[in-house]
Symmetry: C2
Subunit: 323 residues, 2 copies
């Protein structure tokens, strides 16, 4: 993080420290980064004698238990509202929607942040909010306890696929080193986040391996997950997102397509690609959008028609990719 | 790495630089660490005007291609022989066995190193040989090129499960940061090492998910891989080792057992456990050995008898584990 951005964080820390009571908001369908950053910040503020609570519209999945196990909400009058890892107030979810116009400070790393807060610190160069939160904790003058390090490590690891993705920079590893120095239970956290799978997730994985279809000489893989299976498995959204990534695992696959039937009957399409295949173009052509490596759209049924549509677009995109 | 160990590396570098021609040996069934460290060192020595070759008893699996793609063996008279990541001369393999008593320098991180070389530098505090090789390249006075960084990053990532395992330390992350600064193609390497799976590996995974058996209220998982399947899949040893890890993925499993039928009919057992289950005790009782989290043994058939034996031992060990 360069000097001017660090300086910004220092100034924001001064403003924050003028207040006593904090409400910290996570995004709906919470992931490791929004939770890790929110609880890490909460613990730092409490250490400094402030009152602070973390709120989320949705229940926190049990796999993040280690982050919040010792957390108890505190009685307080609301004062200063901070949103973490929330690009848009739409992502507050139903229960927190009323906070949309009361957010004093937003700490985020999404380039698409809509600037809804009074003060915004958005750092797309950070792989996770937890990455720069490490500097913010320091700027606040809090010490990096093991509990804070565990929370921040969780977000850093989950947003980078355990340091596997293209968003990792030298700074990401330097922050990880600092969190390990502070005693983060890194491998125990990683085991919980990346190795242990619920029976439901394993059920869907097994179905995926049995039902993956290959097209265009194995360069496109397609998986259809019927609603009945998803429901029976009990796998949550985060677990199902992981399944989308499996489609491009097979050697030679450039584009993996997952079609998830919704309870309404609509078909939610997630695509994942390898260079040089641009799946955002495929999804845009069908009314969706996203990034070159991960994009999505929603199609109406029947399934065979939807499959034909997405496969036709993907084949078109494939033509532009050299063998 | 503390000062005295760094000083040792500096002294070893001085001795190495007195020589002109180098033969660098990898262990049999080569993995990312032995290859990354050997080629990284080879490129560094060539950069310093020396002649250097890398030798291995077994063919190098194609997934490591990025490490050695520009490598061409050089004509030279043999001079100074260096072994990397080789704990015991047994691991040289058949083709390199004749080097066993000619090894001048051994660079390793296995605590079990037998001290067979004239000079040994063994650093069990390093998660990978590639971790301290980063310091050795510096001690030699070579610059950390992108090519060397790619080689060393490969070993660092593969020996730590992409920074996921308990062997990762703050130093591991600091070295990773330095390799990324030097331009290592980190996410491309990670994709090749951790995401892309051969059709053979996927075939075995699919079989595993379909055939995993659970015992003791889901706390023990057992998988049997018949030789016919392994042969048909064409999956190599490294790929099959990954399968053993899958057995303890299911939530609640403390011990995962994989039984691989060998062409001879013998049954090779790999066990993987989660704390507090000690699978080395299970395997020791059956004539094998290993670490608390990963151990192995070999049993004779028939399968049902072997299964009963290993399950009885595992149940015994389970009694000592609190629920």
């Amino acid at each position: 993080m360069n000097y001017s951005r660090q300086h910004e964080l220092t100034n924001i820390a001064k403003i924050v420290l003028e207040h006593q009571n904090f409400t910290i908001l996570c995004h709906r369908n919470p992931d490791g980064d929004t939770l890790g950053a929110a609880f890490g910040l909460c613990f730092a503020l409490r250490q400094l004698g402030r009152r602070a609570n973390v709120l989320c519209s949705d229940p926190i999945p049990p796999r993040y238990e280690a982050i919040y196990q010792d957390y108890e909400p505190q009685q307080m009058e609301e004062d200063y509202v901070i949103a973490v890892d929330i690009a848009d107030t739409q992502l507050l979810g139903e229960k927190l929607a009323s906070y949309a116009d009361k957010i004093e400070l937003c700490l985020d790393h999404h380039v698409s942040n809509t600037g809804y807060a009074h003060i915004s610190f958005v750092d797309p160069a950070s792989a996770a909010v937890c990455e720069f939160m490490c500097f913010f904790v320091e700027a606040l003058g809090a010490s990096m306890t093991q509990k804070i390090a565990d929370a921040l490590y969780t977000g850093l690891a989950t947003d980078t696929g355990c340091f596997k993705f293209a968003n990792v920079t030298p700074q990401t590893h330097r922050v990880a080193a600092a969190l390990l120095e502070a005693g983060a239970h890194h491998w125990q956290i990683n085991r919980r986040m990346f190795d242990i799978k619920s029976r439901g997730r394993l059920m869907v994985e097994r179905y995926a391996l049995d039902n993956l279809e290959f097209y265009c000489e194995g360069r496109i893989a397609l998986l259809y997950l019927p609603w009945e299976l998803v429901q029976r498995s009990g796998a949550d959204d985060g677990e199902l997102d992981g399944i989308s990534g499996l489609t491009r695992q097979a050697e030679g696959v450039l584009c993996g397509i997952t079609i998830r039937q919704q309870p309404s009957g609509a078909l939610r399409v997630s695509t994942r690609s390898s260079e040089p295949f641009d799946c955002s173009r495929v999804c845009q052509a069908l009314g969706g959008g996203g990034h070159p490596r991960a994009a999505g759209c929603t199609l109406s049924g029947p399934l065979e028609q939807a499959k034909a549509k997405i496969l036709a677009q993907a084949e078109e995109e494939l033509k532009g990719c050299a063998r």
